[in-house]
């Protein structure tokens, strides 16, 4: 039953003949915390240039799943492959080395420092032991330009930016530092206004257009539908559905989330 659901949902974004290799593939992943089975036999995959919306009720296992993908947790069982190669992540650093970056919910920015400093946080560029500020400013501006961000200057302290602009800085860091191929975003628009939300959703679409994969966790189905290509539903640690956005409805997703068909 579980396998069927998984198979049914595996997409083929290019064509039926040439099966594209998933960027990241998780097979039969289980993870327990004490007596709580957070994840049980979950299969998940994501392809380059694809946005996957990860939805589910509180405690469904969304956070556990992304923490396994980004290397923060190790699964009890199951395999992870990146580019078809089996991998073991001992820390987020290992995942980052393979181009998997997480944009944290609190954004992890230093408010007092400027945009460029934040984009290069922890990976400052040096030339003969001196910070190459010029290069950092130029490269940060370049990345933000590619993201079509409306940040007026990379010399502005991040604390003075709007929520959407801060999101752009956090994403720019993930792209630039990690050369991220997969970007995981946990509730990226939860704290944003309507206009800012649109900008961030647009940003996610742009990341996809650049050929990157994006996993978006959101409680807001409207946002998920507006940006995701595929929607993955978890319930009580199990994978209960994978749907292409254009082949499902919000009502169906809600049913999957709450498990109404079992009632």
């Amino acid at each position: 039953m579980q396998d069927q659901v998984a198979m049914e949902g595996v997409p083929n974004p290019v064509s039926a003949e040439t099966r594209v290799q998933p960027l990241v593939e998780l097979t039969n992943i289980s993870k327990a915390f004490g007596h709580v089975q957070a994840l049980q036999g979950v299969n998940f995959c994501i392809f380059p240039g694809e946005v996957v919306g990860l939805v589910g009720d509180n405690g469904a296992g969304k956070s556990t799943l992304i923490k396994i993908i980004c290397g923060a947790y190790r699964p009890d069982s199951g395999t992870i492959t990146v580019d078809g190669q089996p991998v073991t992540f001992n820390s987020p650093r290992d995942a980052m080395a393979l181009g998997i970056a997480t944009v944290y919910q609190n954004l992890a920015l230093v408010d007092q420092r400027n945009v460029a400093d934040n984009v290069f946080l922890g990976r400052e560029v040096e030339r003969r032991l001196v910070l190459d500020k010029r290069r950092m400013l130029e490269e940060a501006a370049q990345v933000l330009r590619e993201l079509r961000s409306d940040i007026p200057s990379v010399q502005v302290p991040v604390g003075l930016l709007s929520g959407g602009q801060r999101q752009a800085v956090a994403i720019a860091r993930a792209i630039h530092q990690v050369a991220a191929r997969l970007i995981i975003m946990d509730e990226p628009v939860a704290a944003l206004g309507i206009e800012e939300t649109r900008k961030v959703l647009r940003l996610i679409a742009r990341l996809r257009d650049q050929g990157r994969a994006v996993i978006v966790i959101s409680h807001n189905l409207e946002h998920v539908f507006s940006v995701a290509d595929r929607i993955v539903v978890l319930r009580r640690g199990r994978l209960v559905g994978i749907r292409r956005k254009d082949q499902t409805t919000a009502a169906e997703i809600v049913r999957l989330i709450v498990g109404a068909e079992h009632l």
Binding site: A108, V110, D111, S153, D246
Partner: protein
């Protein structure tokens, strides 16, 4: 596979809006491309930058105001010799305040600096006078010992997660007691030939004009300002104090950064003790009692916030200069010496009020 049937949430409308928005953004980009390096900031960027600089500018304005005021009050004040005296009087304070600035930016504090300075002065005197160690070897031992005191402050703070306020308060007491025990309460007098290199390097005047203490203060401040503004370590100090969690997530070894700041402070106390020894040729066990408050005052008046993530060496220099000018000015004006702490305290509170006001306005 195409979007033939509209989904429940028809997002085409959203996309249109987004496209439109995108167009606007592109226009905005065409008009005001953010530039790096020495490029041209647009008006917004420049205005924000000016606001950011306001902190240092207000400190500079206060320094100039005080200077002009005192010059008008007494013609003795702007005399070059008097100004060099003020510079010499603040130099030891400013040298230790460099370390305190690093700590404040990293959101830590060291209350033991006054005791460390006094303890190291006794140690240096002890080594030269009692053990007859070569003065330069004694200086090296003193500075290394200072660094070790900073190391232990830093390790206890970071490894056990105890607030540095408490750890260094304990160290303050320990070292003051140790200085008194070691010296038996008596000053450690040293006798050196007047032309000994130790004395010509730590006392007298550089180029026949600048007091040696001022010369060393300037050297150290230039180095420290460079380290903070233009090195990776400096960037890590700011990031650690600004948002420790973010810095850790970004792979910055925040605990190591903090420990290094404590070590720098301890080593600077050793350098300060060395300069004092050159000047007075004796180490008093009570040296530096209450000095930590003057040092913290200089840092705070200089605009380095108590909450980390910002601040500068230039600000600390100006803060020390303000303190020095007040002390000197009150003497020249013939005010009671007991008035000095009152004036200093008022300035500290005033500086914090101004700082808070600026912070509010920025938000």
């Amino acid at each position: 596979m195409q979007q033939d049937q509209p989904s429940c949430f028809d997002d085409s409308g959203v996309d249109e809006v987004l496209d439109e928005l995108d167009g606007q953004t592109e226009e905005a980009w065409a008009g005001s491309v953010p530039r790096g390096g020495g490029g041209f900031l647009n008006a917004v960027g420049a205005a924000l930058r000016r606001l950011l600089l306001l902190r240092e500018i207000s400190v500079l304005a206060a320094t100039i105001l005080l200077f002009v005021g005192l010059s008008l009050a007494t013609p003795l004040f702007p005399d070059p010799e008097n100004l060099l005296l003020v510079a010499r009087q603040i130099s030891i304070l400013a040298i230790i305040a460099i370390g305190m600035t690093f700590l404040f930016i990293a959101r830590e504090i060291d209350l033991s600096v006054g005791s460390t300075y006094g303890f190291l002065a006794v140690i240096l005197g002890f080594l030269i006078a009692k053990w007859e160690v070569d003065p330069w070897v004694a200086v090296a031992i003193t500075i290394i010992l200072g660094a070790c005191i900073g190391l232990s402050n830093g390790l206890i703070t970071t490894l056990f997660g105890i607030p540095s306020f408490i750890v260094t308060l304990g160290m303050l007491s320990i070292l003051r007691g140790a200085a008194l025990l070691l010296s038996g309460g008596w000053p450690m007098l040293i006798r050196l030939a007047p032309d000994h290199s130790f004395l010509t390097v730590t006392a007298g005047r550089a180029f026949g004009i600048v007091p040696r203490q001022v010369f060393w203060m300037a050297e150290l401040m230039i180095i420290a300002a460079f380290v903070l503004a233009s090195t990776r370590f400096g960037a890590h100090v700011y990031a650690t104090g600004g948002n420790e969690e973010a810095a850790t997530l970004a792979g910055i070894p925040t605990k190591r950064v903090k420990v290094i700041c404590f070590v720098i402070t301890g080593a600077l106390c050793g350098i300060a003790a060395t300069l004092l020894m050159g000047q007075v040729r004796s180490g008093f066990p009570t040296t530096g009692t209450g000095f930590e408050l003057d040092i913290i005052a200089a840092v705070v008046i200089g605009g380095t916030p108590l909450f980390g993530g910002a601040g500068s060496i230039l600000g600390t220099l100006l803060g020390a200069a303000i303190l020095g000018m007040i002390t000197n000015g009150l003497v020249l004006l013939g005010a009671s010496e007991h008035f000095e702490p009152v004036a200093k305290g008022a300035i500290i509170v005033g500086a914090i009020v101004v700082d808070t006001f600026i912070r509010r306005r920025r938000q």
